[in-house]
């Protein structure tokens, strides 16, 4: 068995894989958030950003497949760990009183699966245009007969529907919960622990999760509350 296989098959190796793939997914979350926040800069910013992304062609596909593989490994390893953990205690206690277990930690598999379901729903909504299909294929007139995909109107119209915005907010709460535990855990998993910064690491998860939540939630919230409007309505 090569050392890589042995590492992956060990309990700690699986944890390094969780932390590495989690961190990469987190990197995607940051990049995606920065792209999305351009909605506040108006239709032109978002539509030209979307056009640029689509024009990447094969590069875009490399990124998509990369993300898919990373997410797949993260989920498969999570399932492997969850199964092994269940098997490690075949007979349950009649009574359990925990002192330290936190809800965010206990619900990692649940919050993770909700995120997965949400990602599929989100793709069906904005990428495949299956949900709210009448908003998905709007075109922006650029003059001279040229047009481009009107992503701005798709987003704003989408989030004006209350149940769409509400479902995004619910998913974001669970994402924040996942990150609360996840981000702090990454440090422990890689062995970064010192009394000098133990407190900062403990705060990092909840603090960064809150920032991510506020950043993402601002978009559906602003559209729903009418702070961000359609181009014609401005």
């Amino acid at each position: 068995m090569s050392w890589v296989c042995r590492l992956y098959r060990s309990s700690l190796g699986a944890k390094y894989v969780m932390a590495t793939t989690g961190l990469l997914l987190f990197g995607f979350l940051i990049a995606h958030l920065l792209g999305n926040l351009q909605i506040f800069a108006g239709p032109d910013a978002v539509n030209s950003y979307a056009e640029k992304l689509r024009s990447l062609g094969p590069l875009l596909w490399v990124a998509r497949i990369g993300l898919l593989v990373i997410a797949g490994v993260h989920i498969a390893t999570a399932m492997k760990l969850a199964k092994a953990n269940q098997e490690a205690r075949p007979v349950a206690y009649a009574k359990v009183t925990h002192r330290a277990v936190k809800p965010a930690t206990k619900t990692m598999v649940l919050s993770g699966l909700v995120i997965l379901a949400y990602v599929i729903y989100h793709l069906a909504h904005f990428t495949w245009g299956v949900i709210q299909a009448d908003h998905a294929h709007l075109e922006e007139e650029l003059g001279g007969g040229a047009t481009r995909h009107d992503v701005y109107s798709m987003i704003v119209l989408g989030f004006q529907t209350w149940w769409v915005s509400a479902s995004y907010l619910v998913a974001l709460v669970l994402l924040a919960l996942h990150l609360c535990h996840g981000i702090t855990s990454v440090f422990q998993t890689f062995g970064l622990h010192h009394s000098k910064y133990a407190c900062a690491i403990k705060m990092a998860g909840p603090a960064i999760a809150t920032l991510i939540f506020l950043g993402y939630a601002s978009i559906p919230a602003a559209c729903w509350l009418g702070l961000v409007k359609l181009a014609e309505a401005q």
């Binding site: 050392w3 042995r6 590492l7 060990s10 309990s11 700690l12 190796g13 699986a14 944890k15 390094y16 760990l81 092994a84 953990n85 098997e87 490690a88 205690r89 075949p90 007979v91 349950a92 206690y93 009649a94 009574k95 359990v96 009183t97 925990h98 002192r99 330290a100 277990v101 936190k102 930690t105 206990k106 990692m108 535990h181 702090t184 855990s185 440090f187 422990q188 998993t189 890689f190 062995g191 970064l192 622990h193 009394s195 133990a198």
Partner: protein
């Protein structure tokens, strides 16, 4: 660790200073105890209502009294482990009301007293629950898995012979303190019993941390981390999900910092350790 006025590493967990004169009034508790004939029996919870005891008895003395009653009635006494009964040996191993070693922080169950319970309280007593710690009888589990983990790497290799000069290798005080703190682990297994995943990371971390902070332990640091973790995995313990429940129940208050150190050592060992051909990597 923080928040405690008593230090750890000295074996003797402090008891609550009784704020009143020792009470001679007796109290009664309603026990629910796991009974299991042998390793193959399914086992079940059995109720022992109205067990009389003194608030000044230790938890184990209360069980001794119950066992005397059972024997008088010709019933099989309840099997449970204990040895020193002063918090240093690591034998006692009862999960009391869902918490290993019971409700008092930094205290082994042998150092727990009945005054920590209310008169008439319902008390659930169960063995450590983990696949790697099979129940042998009633509340007694087989913790041989810990011995096998120690045998895999919880040692330093030395030449036997004349006794070496005690302080031949100077050890900085801060390092010695960290080694001593980790060395206070008594191998009781409460960390495994408390972990929702039945992981043994706090125990293995304590053993690895103990030796990695000493010059004598550093030569074998990488090999040790790999061998002990690989044995831990083979014994069927779970994986760490960073619940940190282990730290909260450990009678010696071993901090989860030792787990971070183990994670660091295992990663660096996996990436950088030179392996001999015959070594197979882990066991060595």
């Amino acid at each position: 660790m923080s928040g405690h006025d008593h230090g750890h590493g000295h074996g003797h967990a402090p008891n609550p200073a009784p704020s009143h004169a020792p009470s001679h009034a007796m109290m009664r508790v309603n026990l629910h105890i796991w009974r299991q004939k042998d390793a193959h029996d399914d086992g079940r919870m059995v109720a022992y209502p109205n067990v009389e005891c003194s608030p000044d008895m230790s938890f184990l003395e209360m069980l001794d009294v119950l066992n005397e009653r059972l024997q008088e009635k010709g019933e099989e006494p309840i099997a449970f482990d204990s040895d020193c009964r002063e918090g240093v040996c690591g034998m006692c191993s009862l999960t009391v009301n869902g918490t290993p070693h019971g409700p008092r922080k930094g205290t082994t169950v042998c150092q727990l007293h009945m005054r920590s319970f209310r008169d008439g309280e319902e008390i659930f007593i169960e063995p450590w629950r983990a696949k790697a710690f099979p129940v042998q009888k009633d509340l007694v589990v087989d913790r041989g898995a810990f011995d096998r983990i120690i045998a895999a790497g919880g040692f330093v290799s030395v030449r036997t012979g004349g006794c070496p000069d005690g302080n031949a290798i100077p050890v900085p005080k801060e390092e010695a303190d960290q080694a001593m703190d980790a060395a206070s682990c008594i191998g009781c297994g409460a960390c495994v019993a408390a972990c929702p995943n039945a992981a043994a990371m706090l125990f293995v971390g304590a053993k690895v941390s103990h030796l990695r902070h000493l010059p004598q332990g550093q030569a074998e640091q990488k090999r040790r981390a790999q061998a002990m973790v690989d044995t831990m995995d083979a014994e069927g313990f779970g994986n760490c999900s960073n619940y940190f429940e282990c730290e909260a129940v450990c009678p010696k208050e071993i901090p989860v910092k030792v787990i971070a150190e183990l994670n660091r050592d295992y990663l660096s060992a996996s990436l950088t350790r030179e392996e001999r051909k015959a070594d197979g990597g882990g066991g060595g």
